[in-house]
C-alpha cells in the first residue's frame, strides 16, 4: 500500500532556521518526509521539537523577517513550494492545501459570521457566486456533522461550542477541496470525547476525498488510532519514522520508546509515578554534537556524543540511532 501512488507532498532536507541574537535557531534541521493520497502522516514530538514550524514551513506561513535561512525542497503535486513567489504559495494555500489549527476558540474571526468565513475562500479561489458558495457551505457543514447548517451559517463563532468551532475550521479548510490537509494539534484544545469525534471525522473525510493529511500532535494516543505513518521529531530532526503500527510494535529509537512510556495509563495504580524523560530538550541554537538525544538517552555511549547517527533502516522503517532498541546494548553503556 505504501509505495503505490506518488506522494502528494514530498519534503527533502527541509531546513528552517530562525534568527536570534545568540545565532541561528535550528527549528527544523533537515527533514525529509512524504505523504501519499488518502493517507495520514502523524508527526509527534514534544513542545519545541519543530513540528509546528515544519508544518508552517511547507506553506510559507512563517514571519519572513524571523527566518535566518531556509533550505531543502518541498514538492507538492509537482510544484516546488520552497522559495516559490508569495503569489504562487497564496494560490496553493486554501485551494490545494487546507489547514486546521490548534485552538478553535481563536482561529475563527470573532466579528465575522461563520457563513462569511466559510464562503470567503471559495469565492476568492474558485470564483463561485454568492448563492453557489452558500449552497456549498451548507453541504460542507453537513459533511462535518453540524446539524441545522442554515442557522449555523448566520451564527458568530462565540455562539458555537469548541467542538463545533473545530468542525467549522475543518469545513473552512476543506472548502476548496484540497488534496492535502495540514492539521496542527487539531484536538489539543478539545476535551477527550470531542477529540475522538474530531479524529474520526478527519479520518472519514480523508477516505471520502482521498485526501492526504499531515497530523501534528504531541499526543501518542492520537497518532496511534488515526495515522498510517508516523514520524517522531526531536530537536528539529526526525529520529524515527515508519508505518505507525511498526513504530509502535517494533520501536527502535530510545526517544520514541520514552514517549510511549510517558503515555498516562488508565490502569495505573493511584500514586504510581508517571514515566518521564529526564532532562530538557537541547538548545536549538547550539545543539549538542553527535546525537541530539544523547544527553538524555539511557543507552548513550561515547560514539553517540561524538558522531551524529544517520536516519537509516529497511522496509520504510527508519531510525537515527547508533544502538537502536532490539540490538545489543552499546559496549560502554553508562546506566
Amino acid at each position: 500500500m505504501t509505495a503505490q501512488s506518488a506522494p502528494v507532498l514530498e519534503m527533502h532536507e527541509l531546513r528552517t532556521w530562525f534568527a536570534t541574537p545568540e545565532g541561528p535557531l535550528r527549528a527544523v534541521d533537515g527533514v525529509s518526509l512524504g505523504v501519499e493520497p488518502g493517507r495520514c502522516l502523524g508527526v509527534v514530538g514534544e513542545s519545541g521539537s519543530g513540528k509546528t514550524v515544519l508544518l508552517r514551513s511547507i506553506v510559507g506561513l512563517l514571519p519572513r523577517r524571523a527566518i535566518a535561512s531556509t533550505g531543502g525542497t518541498v514538492c507538492f503535486e509537482g510544484l516546488e513550494l520552497a522559495g516559490a513567489p508569495p503569489a504562487v504559495i497564496r494560490d496553493v494555500r486554501g485551494r490545494r492545501i487546507g489547514m486546521v489549527f490548534q485552538d478553535p476558540m481563536t482561529s475563527l474571526n470573532p466579528v465575522m459570521r461563520v457563513g462569511t468565513q466559510l464562503t470567503d475562500g471559495m469565492r476568492h479561489h474558485l470564483g463561485v457566486g454568492r448563492q453557489e458558495a452558500r449552497r456549498r457551505a451548507r453541504a460542507l457543514l453537513e459533511a462535518v456533522g453540524i446539524p441545522d447548517p442554515e442557522r449555523r451559517l448566520r451564527d458568530y463563532p462565540h455562539q458555537l461550542s469548541g467542538g463545533m468551532r473545530q468542525r467549522v475550521t475543518i469545513a473552512i479548510a476543506l472548502a476548496c477541496d484540497p488534496s492535502l490537509l495540514l492539521a496542527d494539534e487539531p484536538t489539543t484544545a478539545l476535551d477527550v470525547t470531542v477529540q475522538s469525534q474530531i479524529l474520526r471525522l478527519l479520518g472519514r473525510l480523508r477516505r471520502q476525498r482521498n485526501m492526504a493529511v499531515i497530523l501534528v500532535t504531541h499526543d501518542m494516543g492520537v497518532v496511534a488510532g488515526s495515522t498510517d505513518d508516523l514520524a517522531v521529531m526531536y530537536a528539529g530532526k526526525v529520529v524515527e519514522q515508519g508505518p505507525t503500527a511498526t513504530v509502535f510494535s517494533a520501536t527502535r529509537h530510545p526517544y520514541t520508546r520514552a514517549l510511549l512510556e510517558a503515555i498516562p495509563r488508565a490502569d495505573a495504580r493511584p500514586g504510581e509515578r508517571l514515566a518521564t524523560i529526564p532532562g530538557q530538550p537541547p538548545s536549538l541554537v547550539d545543539p549538542p554534537s553527535g546525537c541530539r538525544f544523547a544527553p538524555r538517552c539511557p543507552r548513550a555511549a561515547d560514539r553517540c556524543r561524538a558522531e551524529e547517527p544517520p536516519l537509516a533502516g529497511a522496509d520504510g522503517h527508519r531510525f537515527a540511532c547508533w544502538f537502536p532498541l532490539g540490538d545489543p546494548e552499546p559496549p560502554a553503556a553508562a546506566t
Partner: protein
C-alpha cells in the same frame, strides 16, 4: 457518525443564548445603562436642533433685538439676549452646528487617515512602521495649538480649515492606537488561519484586522470628539476660529465675558451647552470602552 446526535452539539445549543453577542443586541444595549442612553439622548437632541436650526422658529442669530439688551430669559427670548440684543437660544443652537461639525468631521478625517496607516504599520512592521511612527511621533511632539494657529493663519479662518487643522492633530493619535491594536491582532490565530486560506496581506488587513480594531477606534473617536470640541471652543474664544458672524459656543462666551459680573447667564448658557456635550461624549465613550475591554478580557 454524523447521523448520531452529538452530545457536544446539544450543549452548544443550550449554552449559546447565554453568551454575550458581539453585535449591539438588545441585551447589550440594556447593559450599557441609563447614563449612556441619557448621554446619547443629549447628543441626539443637540444634533437634531443643530441640523434643523434653519427650519425651527428661531430668531435670526445675527439680528439684534434693541428692545431687550442683555436681558434675562423671557417668553420672547427663552435664554435671554446678549449685550447687543442677539437671541442666546438661537445663537447657541446655531453655535452647536460649528461644534458638532468640528467634533464629527475632524475625528472622521483623523480616523480615516490615521487608522489605515496605523494598521499598515502594525501589520507589515519593518521600515514602513519605522517611517510612519517617526512622522507620527514628530507630529505628536509638535505643540498642537501652534499648529492650529499656523494652519488658520495661513489658510484662512474657515470652518473647513479648522476641521482640517484639528484632524491633522488627531491623525497621529489614531495612527498609534490602530498600530497598537493591530500588533496584538496580527498575532492571533485567526489571522494565521486567514492566511492559511490564501488571503493576501491586504485582504487580511481589510477582512480580519479592520473589523476587529474598528470598535475600539470608534469608541476612542467619541472621546477625541470631545477634545476637538473643546479645542474649537478655545480657538473660537481667542477669535482664531470662524469669523464672529457665525455664532459658536466659544465666541458667544468670549462676547459675554465683559458682562460676566452683571449678566453671568450670557456666559453660563453656552458654557453649559458645551459642558453637557463634552461630558456626554466622554460618558458614552468611556462606557463603550469599558464594555469592549471587558469583551477583550474574556477573549
Amino acid at each position: 457518525m454524523s447521523q448520531q446526535p452529538d452530545p457536544n452539539l446539544l450543549v452548544a445549543a443550550e449554552a449559546a443564548p447565554s453568551l454575550p453577542s458581539a453585535t449591539l443586541s438588545l441585551r447589550a444595549s440594556a447593559r450599557l445603562g441609563p447614563v449612556f442612553w441619557l448621554s446619547v439622548g443629549w447628543l441626539a437632541l443637540v444634533g437634531v436642533l443643530a441640523a434643523t436650526a434653519s427650519l425651527l422658529p428661531l430668531r435670526d442669530p445675527n439680528i439684534s433685538d434693541f428692545s431687550s439688551l442683555a436681558a434675562g430669559p423671557s417668553a420672547h427670548h427663552w435664554l435671554g439676549t446678549d449685550a447687543v440684543g442677539l437671541d442666546l437660544l438661537s445663537r447657541i443652537i446655531y453655535g452647536a452646528r460649528v461644534s458638532l461639525a468640528v467634533g464629527l468631521f475632524s475625528i472622521l478625517i483623523g480616523l480615516a487617515v490615521g487608522a489605515p496607516l496605523g494598521a499598515v504599520a502594525g501589520y507589515f512592521r519593518g521600515k514602513v512602521e519605522a517611517a510612519l511612527m517617526t512622522v507620527a511621533d514628530a507630529m505628536l511632539s509638535f505643540p498642537a495649538l501652534i499648529l492650529l494657529l499656523f494652519i488658520t493663519a495661513f489658510f484662512g479662518k474657515t470652518l473647513v480649515n479648522i476641521i482640517i487643522a484639528i484632524a491633522v492633530v488627531t491623525v497621529p493619535v489614531f495612527l498609534r492606537l490602530a498600530r497598537a491594536n493591530t500588533l496584538v491582532l496580527a498575532q492571533r490565530e485567526f489571522v494565521l488561519a486567514a492566511r492559511s486560506t490564501g488571503a493576501s496581506s491586504w485582504r487580511v488587513l481589510w477582512r480580519e484586522v479592520a473589523p476587529n480594531i474598528l470598535p475600539s477606534l470608534l469608541t476612542f473617536g467619541l472621546l477625541a470628539a470631545a477634545v476637538a470640541i473643546v479645542a474649537e471652543g478655545a480657538l473660537s474664544f481667542m477669535g482664531l476660529s470662524v469669523p464672529p458672524q457665525t455664532p459658536t459656543w466659544g465666541n458667544i462666551i468670549a462676547g459675554g465675558r465683559q458682562e460676566i459680573q452683571t449678566d453671568p447667564l450670557i456666559v453660563l448658557f453656552p458654557s453649559v451647552a458645551m459642558f453637557l456635550t463634552v461630558f456626554a461624549l466622554n460618558l458614552a465613550g468611556e462606557r463603550l470602552r469599558s464594555m469592549i475591554d471587558a469583551r477583550g478580557g474574556r477573549r
